[in-house]
Amino acid sequence: MPGPYRETDLTEKVEAFLSDLKRGGSGTGPLRGSAETARETTALLRRITAQVRWSSAGDLMEVIRKEGRRMSAAQPSETTVGNMIRRVLKIIREEYARSRGSSEEADQQESLHKLLTSGGLSEENFRQYFTALKANVIEAINELLTELEGTTDNIAMQALEHIHSNEVIMTIGRSRTVEAFLKDAARKRKFHVIVAECAPFCQGHEMATSLSKDGIETTVITDAAIFAVMSRVNKVIIGTQTVLANGGLRAVNGTHTLALAAKHHSTPLIVCAPMFKLSPQFPNEEDTFHKFVSPHEVLPFTEGEILSKVNVHCPVFDYVPPELITLFISNIGGHAPSYIYRLMSELYHPEDHEL
């Protein structure tokens, strides 16, 4: 029978995705970039929308919220999963509002007048049934998927506006977005790139080999030399794992030092981050912000005698406050860090910030 068959198929897919997320985070499973995670999450949500039985928008949102909570819990540091879920929830709300006929403008503006006249929070409970809702939602999710596929290209297209010739650009670690950005600029301009290797994972090495194979003059430096060479750098261009709600970053460790050094020399710090990395989290949660991996990367087991007497830390992420950032380049253009809160209100609904 097609019904239960599809249900079990769907559950299987969800379970497979969850276990991939769990393994990917610890570094043992296949390492996937955030763009892939975002695409897979959205595809999975589309499948859930298509196959799960639901009668009203409220039901669908409940189902997605439930699955979303499970997915975020599988790998809390992979914030793109949560971001995509919130995007889809916002899509559902919009399509529902459009089907009901009320204009989107009135819904979004939380003016004082609206608060007083409507008596507090909106009384929406999303219980009405619309026949075309399913098709509309799936179409909107397809649009979202197309947008996701074009993010790296959209960012790379803006490269020539920001890089002039004979520049020295510094970057840290490995970011696919920044790689595409620099390679696009290198087609027309000649410049020099310095890559900080970002110990202990040393992903900077991969970045440097990839850039130099494309004809870009590249130098690899150690993390300790970041401040020493910063005086000769014209721009710092980095990628990030997450853009936080206050405009700060959660980026690979070593980025805060890089940002401080750039500030000291008044060098602009440009962050290339697609919109799906924008997360409604704030950096105040002390215990959930940092992620640690095995300290064996820092002090290997061959140092046996002292291992039991020493504490070793290997944090993966760093917090970079928004004051140190000059510009965000995303697939919809360039923004200052002070504008991030506005973008957030366009992408996510405030009630979805907590899944």
């Binding site: 440097a208 004809g215 690899v220 993390d223 460790n253 002090l299 005698e305 504490n311 830390h313």
Partner: protein
């Protein structure tokens, strides 16, 4: 044919050899405020072909083999030398070498392979080797010890310079020895002269290094309170000594050791501290922003203190000082006065040392990304050894003459120079 000037850093006396191969000491470079004209050391003029030719001629005359550059050099640093550890200078020497004393050959090899590393260790090893040289020395007939011994030392110094560029502390030690040798009165018998020189060297080590460390430890212990969390970077013999002394005196504190690739010297410091029983934490330099909120003080060692107040130290020190400043954590630098240097420098480019670039290569998960970096045409690896920290990042310098701010370094130098003269 005008002559080749042999210079030491900040030396106000220039020894010039004229055509008759006689040595003259010209002092007309000395002005009331000290020497103004200083010659640049050769190892930061590698991009100048004339300098290289002169150097090659000098080495040929002294019968010392020349070490060649290795690998692609980043264009910003084309004025510096870059050697490979796999090609030590001693391979080109015949054994036994007629020109170079075997203790010096051994020392050169230890320097170039990194077996003896660290400012104090290198100076002490140098002085011990010179003691050996002096005890084995015999004055040839018709020569005076005070002149001939200095001449004998020159090729050794060139050799050591080729193995690894001399540090500021070594430069000061050599200056001291040469002065002592030239001051030997001519009526001394050879044995007495040698005994006096050996004694002088012992005194130097005892006063400037050992006693200075004790004095610095005594001052620093006042700055360490119970419950402190102290951050140290890499392996500085002086800072380790201070921490061990403080622990023995009963202060309760814990230490965070920050380390960096590729040298990973922090592990040595970690071993020494753990052996004493001090509780330690270990992180890499990229995690410094994570760990700094816990830290109450930062203790750093120095390779040299420059006359404009900049601190020259292992690469990464300036970064730690920068992040500490951003978190409002006090930074204390510990340095003996014999490492003070009259050079001035504002950035880490003009005078630095480039280490073997192959050290950056690492194998992770079975893959070595940079294995064939020499084949890739536009890829360069940069392995800097030193960097300079601006004085606004440093709160206090603890020396054997007391605790001074960074900007008082030229005052100390002036006082020292007056003493020496």
């Amino acid at each position: 044919n005008v002559g080749i000037l042999i210079r030491l850093r900040a030396d106000s006396h220039c020894h010039i050899k004229n055509e008759d191969d006689q040595w003259q000491i010209k002092e007309h470079f000395l002005t009331p405020l000290g020497s103004v004209v200083k010659r640049l050391p050769e190892h930061i003029q590698v991009d100048d072909p004339d300098v290289l030719k002169k150097l090659a001629k000098k080495l040929e005359r002294q019968q010392i083999p020349r070490r060649l550059d290795y690998g692609y050099k980043v264009s910003l640093f084309s004025h510096l030398l870059q050697y490979s550890r796999k090609a030590p200078l001693t391979q080109q020497l015949s054994i036994p070498s007629a020109v170079i004393h075997p203790a010096i050959v051994r020392l050169g090899l230890q320097y170039s392979q990194g077996i003896v590393a660290g400012s104090n260790a290198r100076s002490i090893a140098l002085l011990h080797a010179f003691k050996q040289v002096i005890s084995d020395y015999t004055t040839p007939s018709n020569e005076e010890l005070s002149r001939d011994l200095v001449n004998k030392l020159k090729p050794y110094i060139s050799f050591l310079n080729q193995c690894r560029p001399l540090s500021a502390s070594m430069g000061n030690a050599i200056k001291y020895i040469k002065k002592e040798i030239s001051n030997i009165p001519s009526q001394f018998k050879e044995d007495d002269a040698k005994k006096k020189l050996l004694n002088c060297i012992e005194c130097f080590i005892e006063e400037k290094i050992v006693l200075a460390a004790k004095a610095i430890a005594k001052s620093s212990i006042e700055k360490i309170n119970d419950g402190d969390v102290i951050l140290v970077y890499g392996c500085s013999s002086l800072v380790n000594h201070i921490l061990c002394e403080a622990f023995e005196k009963g202060r309760k504190f814990r230490v965070i050791v920050v380390d960096s690739r590729p040298r990973l010297e922090g592990r040595e410091a970690l071993r020494r501290l753990v052996q004493k029983g001090i509780s330690c934490t270990y992180v890499l330099i990229s995690a410094v922003s994570y760990i700094l909120p816990e830290v109450s003080k930062v203790f750093l060692g120095a390779h040299a203190l420059l006359a404009n107040g900049y601190v020259m130290s292992r690469v990464g020190t300036s970064q730690i000082a920068l992040v500490a400043k951003a978190f409002n954590v006090p930074v204390l630098v510990c340095c003996e006065t014999y490492k003070f240097c009259e050079r001035v420098q504002t950035d880490s480019f003009v005078s630095n040392e480039l280490d073997d670039p192959d050290d950056l290569i690492v194998t992770r998960k079975g893959e070595t990304q940079l294995k064939d970096w020499q084949q890739v045409p536009r890829l360069g690896l940069l392995n800097l050894v030193y960097d300079v920290t601006p004085p606004d990042f440093v709160d206090l310098v603890i020396t054997d003459l007391g605790m001074i701010p960074c900007t008082s370094v030229p005052v100390v130098l002036r006082v020292k120079n007056v003493d020496l003269l």
